[in-house]
């Protein structure tokens, strides 16, 4: 800004001057306190007696550099599994939520099925589902390639995650006020149409931030498929760990995951903030 502009501009009020000074002051304090904490961490941790060994075991540059490309390659397996599981989970989750919301007496069995699905798959540890479906169903005698652990492992993930996702969808559906259904019906919309054109668009929009959290969780749980064979990033890191007796490959894997999850989490925060603004 030129000196001329500053002269020509309005003279700041005493209040503005005071607030600017307060703002500068809190900025300086925040910077100083952050710097002090960072300096303390950087100076104190390396002074711990075991730091050399911890550093050699977890933060070894040579190990990191030699294993990172292999980890990135294995991460593509995670991405692929995620890419076909996520849409399947969304569809199945929505179907289960709709089944649990079925109001016609004839569809009561659907409600039972939906409730059983969410109860069972939310209650059973994911890893048991992965083992049971990944080894169990192919063990019934399916021929190759239909016994692939990729297929059945993905199904296990889909079943588990759709149970959570269905509950989130259901909470979204129930959060739409009953009067909306009544209004839709009074306009002559059928049950199905009022669900499709009135309830669901609002319900889905409301639960998107919550569903983003499920996506982030799924992204990490894809690694559970490694228990039944597929060599994804955690298995690959485990192989490197065993061969080199060093944990650094896990740090490499964590960095790759963070590169995905941190932007995804920030985006979720952003969506939530926008939703809160819209509501208020």
């Amino acid at each position: 800004m030129s000196g001329e502009g500053a002269v020509a501009g309005p003279v700041p009020s005493r209040r503005q001057v005071y607030e600017d000074r307060q703002r500068r002051r809190s900025l300086i304090i925040a910077a100083a306190s952050t710097g002090a904490v960072a300096a303390a961490v950087m100076i104190l941790i390396p002074r711990a007696p075991g730091w050399d060994r911890v550093q050699a075991s977890f933060f070894n540059w040579d190990v990191f550099a030699s294993t990172f490309p292999g980890l990135l390659g294995a991460f593509m397996t995670d991405v692929a599994i995620f890419a076909w599981c996520a849409p399947a989970i969304a569809v199945l989750g929505l179907l289960v939520a709709l089944a649990r919301d079925a109001r016609s007496p004839a569809l009561f069995p659907l409600r039972i099925l939906g409730a059983a699905h969410t109860d069972i798959f939310r209650g059973v540890p994911v890893i048991l589902t992965v083992y049971l479906i990944g080894f169990g169903i192919p063990g019934l005698g399916l021929p190759r390639p239909w016994n692939s652990p990729y297929i059945w492992g993905s199904l296990a993930l889909t079943l588990t995650y759709s149970a959570y996702v269905a509950e989130i969808f259901r909470s979204g559906i129930e959060s739409v006020h009953e009067s909306q259904r009544a209004a839709a019906q009074s306009l002559g919309l059928s049950d199905r149409d009022s669900m499709r054109f009135v309830i669901l668009p609002q319900a889905i929009r409301r639960v998107i931030p919550a569903q983003m959290n499920m996506l982030i969780a799924l992204q990490k749980d894809v690694a559970l498929l490694s228990f039944i064979g597929p060599v994804e990033i955690f298995r690959q890191a485990g192989v490197y760990k065993s061969l080199m007796a060093n944990f650094t490959p896990y740090v490499g894997a964590a960095i790759i995951f963070l590169c995905i999850t941190i932007p995804a989490t920030r985006y979720t925060d952003h969506l939530l903030a926008r939703q809160n603004r819209e509501r208020s």
């Binding site: 063990g139 060599v231 061969l243 060093n246």
Partner: protein
């Protein structure tokens, strides 16, 4: 007079004890003075340890452990067993064992971060095929199979380096998962050290067969098993000396013959 006798008796006892301690290489180097703490897997597998009970001294590694302990001057009563996973064994910081025996292959990469004793067993790699799978013991025939292995073993680099299968191998956490994958028809064959392969085919996986072992002249084969120790553990020289003594006296070979004798007679892979 009695006092004098007592006094001299005490002196003799003290000198004897200190002489024994001086004689002992391990004095002051073990976790607990006077005790030797040995770690094994959880569970420990046959034929390395029988019935998951290393205290019995039955099974190859359990027997070697007691022989080494005896050579180092520890009676069987002074051997303490603990269990660790692979990861616990390589974590930085103080260990809860003096040495760890669970078929650790000695490799130069691992040696940078932990110490190994001299090898106590040379294990050739062997091929275990699933029920109903037949293949000739040639690299050519093996390449076309669908492979599996335990992800934490040296079988993995062996697969990618020597067999070079046509499709990517599937990797598992332990032997029982390999068993499940074979029952599910997801893999045709898996790579193990020979004694483990023989045990799995005989006891665990019905209908499976050990169709071949890799000849000893290949690079990195056989795998040499060593006892894992914390990097820079001063006990290493005592353990090595004990193993050396067991080797030259023929006792190690006798233990091997007693617990792992059936390992011959498996065809070589060409």
């Amino acid at each position: 007079m009695l006092k004098l006798l007592l006094c001299s008796g005490l002196t003799i006892a003290v000198t004897a004890a200190s002489a024994l301690a001086e004689d002992r290489c391990a004095a002051g180097k073990t976790l607990t003075e006077g005790k030797l703490t040995i770690a094994t897997g959880n569970p420990a597998y046959y034929p390395w340890v029988l019935n998951d009970a290393p205290e019995s001294g039955e099974g190859f590694e359990a027997a070697v452990a007691y022989a080494v302990a005896g050579e180092m001057g520890f009676s069987a009563d002074n051997v303490v067993w603990v269990r660790t996973s692979f990861d616990e064994a390589i974590q930085p910081g103080a260990k809860n064992f003096d040495f760890n025996m669970q078929q650790y292959s000695i490799t130069s990469e691992r040696d940078k971060f932990v110490d190994f004793s001299a090898p106590y067993y040379a294990a050739p790699m062997a091929v275990l095929t699933a029920p109903g799978v037949t293949a000739d013991p040639t690299l050519e025939a093996l390449r076309g199979l669908k492979w599996g292995a335990v992800g934490s073993t040296t079988a993995v680099p062996k697969l990618s380096g020597v067999i070079k299968p046509d499709s990517d191998p599937l990797l598992y956490g332990d032997n029982s998962d390999i068993n499940a994958a074979m029952s599910a028809g997801q893999i045709d064959a898996a790579l193990f050290d020979l004694p483990t392969a023989l045990f799995l085919s005989a006891v665990m996986i019905e209908g499976s067969a050990v169709i071949g072992q890799f000849p000893a002249d290949r690079e990195d084969n056989p795998d040499l098993f060593g006892m894992l120790m914390e990097e820079g553990n001063p006990l290493k020289q005592c353990v090595d000396a004990a193993l050396e003594a067991l080797k030259s006296s023929g006792e190690l070979a006798a233990i091997e013959a007693e617990w792992l004798q059936q390992t011959t007679g498996v065809p070589l892979i060409r």
